[in-house]
Amino acid sequence: MTLSTINITDRDHQIAKLSAIAVALSLVEFFFPSPIPGVKPGIANIIILYTIFKFDLRMGIWVSIIRVFVTSIILGSFLSPTFFLSLSGALFSLLSLIIFKNLSPKYFSLISFSLIASLAHIIGQFVIVRIWIIPHNGIFYLLPIFIVSAFIFGLVTALITNKLLQLNSKK
């Protein structure tokens, strides 16, 4: 009989802590009503962006996916349309970050990455909505609203994360 043991590294602890903060922020966001239906600032993305720049992309991917699953289980929307919207948004964002990860940090700061990811997030959600939830071209009429909000919130998220990284490096 063999005993299998799971080695829990510091890295795993780190991921767990960051995921917990991201989940908490998602829940806070859930309980605040949004002024425009469907437009959410996505404050949990601050943590994910922070993770990617403080540690690495792999860790960011873990935190992002864990956040999507845990938040949906807590809110009871697991495997519902809301969950798949959230998942596809997260996957598209991560995919875009993987594609663009080789952009030189000399010319591109995290603002670029944040904007690219927020655009990818909206595209991912619209793909799911168009294919599955509302299979009608009429939804594209709403696209400008969501793209403008993606731009604003992508920028704000990047600036907050930047501040957070600065504060952290001072210590």
Binding site: Y107, F108, L115, I116, L119, G138, P144
Partner: protein
């Protein structure tokens, strides 16, 4: 305060400006592409869901239509049209204001009068949506 703003602008690098400008261009292109509905050409007036009359939008005139409850006045003003008076209680039809794009509609349910604009390319209306 100004110093702080300048500091936060400093962290935006060359490539970031490039991405920001690209993003703004994308917003403008997509908005123009998706929100540019064709102008309408004709006004169709319906009573009890049956077409009553078709008028050109290129005129300045007020039509009086007799509906279920009374007289409805519909004003055409060179390319746009609105309900200017109606016998219904809530006046939703009047509060909708002017419409000018193809496939836009205004409906007055109490008086069973509705108008829609035709012409131009077919587009999505609020019912389809």
């Amino acid at each position: 305060m100004i110093k702080k703003i300048l500091q936060s602008i400093k962290i935006i690098k060359v490539g970031d400006w490039f991405i920001i400008i690209l993003f703004c261009a994308l917003i403008i292109i997509i908005t123009k592409l998706l929100w540019n509905l064709p102008q309408g050409e004709y006004l169709e007036i319906y009573k009890n869901n049956e077409i009553l009359a078709v008028y050109s939008l290129n005129q300045k005139i007020t039509k009086i239509i007799n509906g279920e409850k009374g007289e409805t006045k519909i004003t055409i003003d060179n390319g746009k049209v609105r309900f200017s008076s109606a016998p219904c209680a809530k006046k939703y039809c009047i509060h909708q204001g002017w419409i000018n794009k193809a496939n836009q509609i205004i409906i007055c349910i109490p008086n069973k009068i509705s108008i829609s604009i035709s012409g131009g390319k077919k587009n999505y209306d609020s019912i389809n949506y």
